[in-house]
């Protein structure tokens, strides 16, 4: 089985979010970048396929040279080779279009992406990629088993879960549950050394028609101070929620 794991290069979850250039660009100064958490669960699941069933696992990112350390980390975790499509990611459709060529050229059977990136939260790339490839698609996937060309998956739905059967070629929008938090792997020294020698293939982008553009960013209004209620006067809390906030 040939597996491609899509790796989004995102600000660490603790990052402060600021903008520059008249609020049109994300301010990357002082920001630590990581593998998108939803993708990291998928990468670890892919490593299990490799170790238990035999598979090659490649990772891909659409972005500039600054994303290579994030791809190297994925190689240190155990991926075989990395592909970087050399263009800034502008929207979900553009990224999906770039990935179509990577998947087709590489002949991948299974593509594992995160259900969304934690920066733009579009939740578009896996589904759009599947539709463009005419591959099957399972979103919010929390369990995946593949035997031959048959796949069994569980997806999270609102208030529960749903089991599905489908077949390869398949695209997954994955999340926690594919593996658990404590299954995630921290690269060890040997992995990091090996990662330096693994291929980092840079490919040039396709021309893609623009679908959406960001006009500007805005930060939420600062919040007013919290109203504290005495723990011995909870009637006051109920009164505030009923009469002031009108939520109960």
């Amino acid at each position: 089985m040939k597996i491609l794991v899509c790796i989004s290069h995102v600000p660490d979850t603790t990052s402060k979010i600021n903008f520059t250039d008249n609020n049109t660009q994300f301010d990357t100064s002082g920001v630590q970048f990581v593998i998108n958490p939803n993708d990291e669960f998928g990468l670890t699941r892919a490593m299990w396929f490799k170790e238990k069933q035999g598979a090659t696992v490649d990772v891909v990112n659409v972005g500039g040279p600054e994303t290579e350390p994030t791809l190297r980390k994925a190689l240190a975790i155990g991926a075989d080779s990395a592909i970087r499509v050399n263009t800034p990611a502008t929207d979900g459709f553009q990224v999906a279009k770039q990935l179509v060529k990577v998947v087709t050229d590489g002949g991948y059977d299974l593509v594992i992406a995160g259900r969304e990136s934690i920066d733009y939260n579009g939740g578009m790339v896996p589904g759009m990629l599947a539709a463009l490839l005419k591959a099957n698609f399972v979103n919010t996937c929390i369990s995946l088993e593949v035997e031959g060309t048959e796949a069994k998956a569980i997806r999270e739905i609102d208030g529960g879960k749903e089991s599905v059967t489908t077949s390869l070629p398949l695209v997954i929008g994955g999340q926690k549950g594919l593996v658990e938090e404590n299954d995630l792997r921290i690269p060890n020294m040997r992995g990091i050394m090996q990662a330096r020698k693994k291929p980092m293939n840079v490919v040039e982008p396709e021309e893609v028609a623009v679908q959406t553009t960001v006009a500007k960013f805005e930060k939420p209004e600062p919040k007013g101070a919290v109203k504290l209620v005495d723990p011995d006067n909870l009637d006051e809390l109920i009164n505030l929620l009923h009469n002031e906030a009108k939520v109960i």
């Binding site: 459709f93 589904g127 208030g159 489908t166 623009v210 906030a245 109960i248």
Partner: protein, 322 residues
């Protein structure tokens, strides 16, 4: 030319998020001086949609479409959009809508913006406000394509009553085998429990509750308020509560009217995930907990004393206001 809206229902009952999507579609239609067409699946009588400004309903009743199937539903919506010559299509941001929307976007060759929180700032260019960076910011995104697909965040717009005809008409789209290449084999869903996605009120517990055995008082609070229960990331990582209850940046987003956090300190990742909730209450014994900076109302106190007392007071309040 009409604005198309995908209406979700369960056992013939419409989802509140779909009434919200309908209300939103109505106002976009007014901006564009056109009408609103809804698409329903397995609904006998869609007249209730007339309360939220729906002019016309395309009723799909086909045994093959009884259960949600993203590919098949996207195919149906594409055919409905073609029939109505829709230039704007609106969906909610339920798990099912988020599943089908990117497929539909490709089929319609539509620019898709998810997590939309307001009416378009302008329709030419077509620019909408959406959340980004998990609610730490907003992005004003312009859609350049002729057809536009919008995913409306829950509780961002509200319900707007608006009488219209909701004139129903049967719609029989053509389906092909490829629509069903992902087959549902089993659905595991608690029947009588409020889900985080549907809930108006969410009651959430953190590590401060010390162990899974202490969730009873929290469940009682949720019961009294008709709320869903949720938890912080460490709580789900330790297996105290199921994953489906984990809310925050890598868990589920919460956009409730009221979010009550008990024994949750308020890590930045947690706050990001629940930030779209309208009113936030924190109960925590540590006055320095970051959650107090994000909350509207706070109680500094021991959850094990405060919550049982609050439950008693709320029962009295509910009895009086029933």
């Amino acid at each position: 030319m009409s604005v198309l809206v995908y209406i979700e229902s369960e056992e013939g009952k419409f989802k509140t998020a779909s009434f919200e999507a309908a209300s939103y579609a109505r106002e976009i239609a007014q901006m564009l001086q056109t009408q609103v067409t809804a698409v329903t699946f397995s609904v006998e009588d869609p007249s209730e949609l007339g309360n939220y400004g729906i002019d016309k309903v395309l009723k799909v009743n086909n045994d093959k479409l009884k259960n949600f199937n993203a590919e098949a539903y996207a195919d149906v919506l594409q055919q409905a959009a073609a029939k109505e010559e829709s230039k704007v299509v609106v969906v909610s941001q339920s798990a099912n809508s988020k599943y089908l929307a990117p497929l539909l976007a490709v089929h319609l060759n539509a620019g898709y913006v998810s997590n939309v929180v307001a009416l378009p700032e302008s329709t030419s260019p077509f620019t909408v406000k959406r959340t980004a960076f998990t609610n730490k910011a907003f992005s004003f995104t312009t859609i350049e394509t002729q057809v536009k697909l919008l995913g409306l965040s829950k509780n961002a717009f509200g319900l707007k009553e608006n009488k219209a005809d909701a004139a129903a008409e049967d719609f029989s789209p053509s389906l092909n085998d490829e629509d069903f290449s992902v087959q549902v084999t089993n659905v595991d869903k608690a029947k009588d429990k409020v889900t985080i996605a549907d809930a108006e009120i969410v009651v959430s517990g953190g590590r401060g509750l010390k162990g899974p055995e202490n969730w009873e008082m929290l469940e009682e609070l949720a019961d009294i308020l008709g709320a869903a229960t949720a938890c912080s990331k460490p709580v789900s990582d330790m297996g105290w509560r199921p994953h489906g209850e984990h809310v925050g940046q890598t868990g589920k987003p919460v956009a409730a009217n009221l979010y009550i956090a008990i024994g949750i300190s308020g890590a930045i990742q947690h706050l990001a995930g629940i930030n779209s909730s309208k009113v936030k209450v924190v109960i925590n014994n540590d006055p320095e907990a970051p959650f107090f900076k994000a909350a509207d109302y706070g109680v500094v106190g021991d959850a094990f004393e405060v919550v049982p007392k609050l439950n008693e007071k709320l029962k009295e309040f509910k009895a009086k206001n029933a």
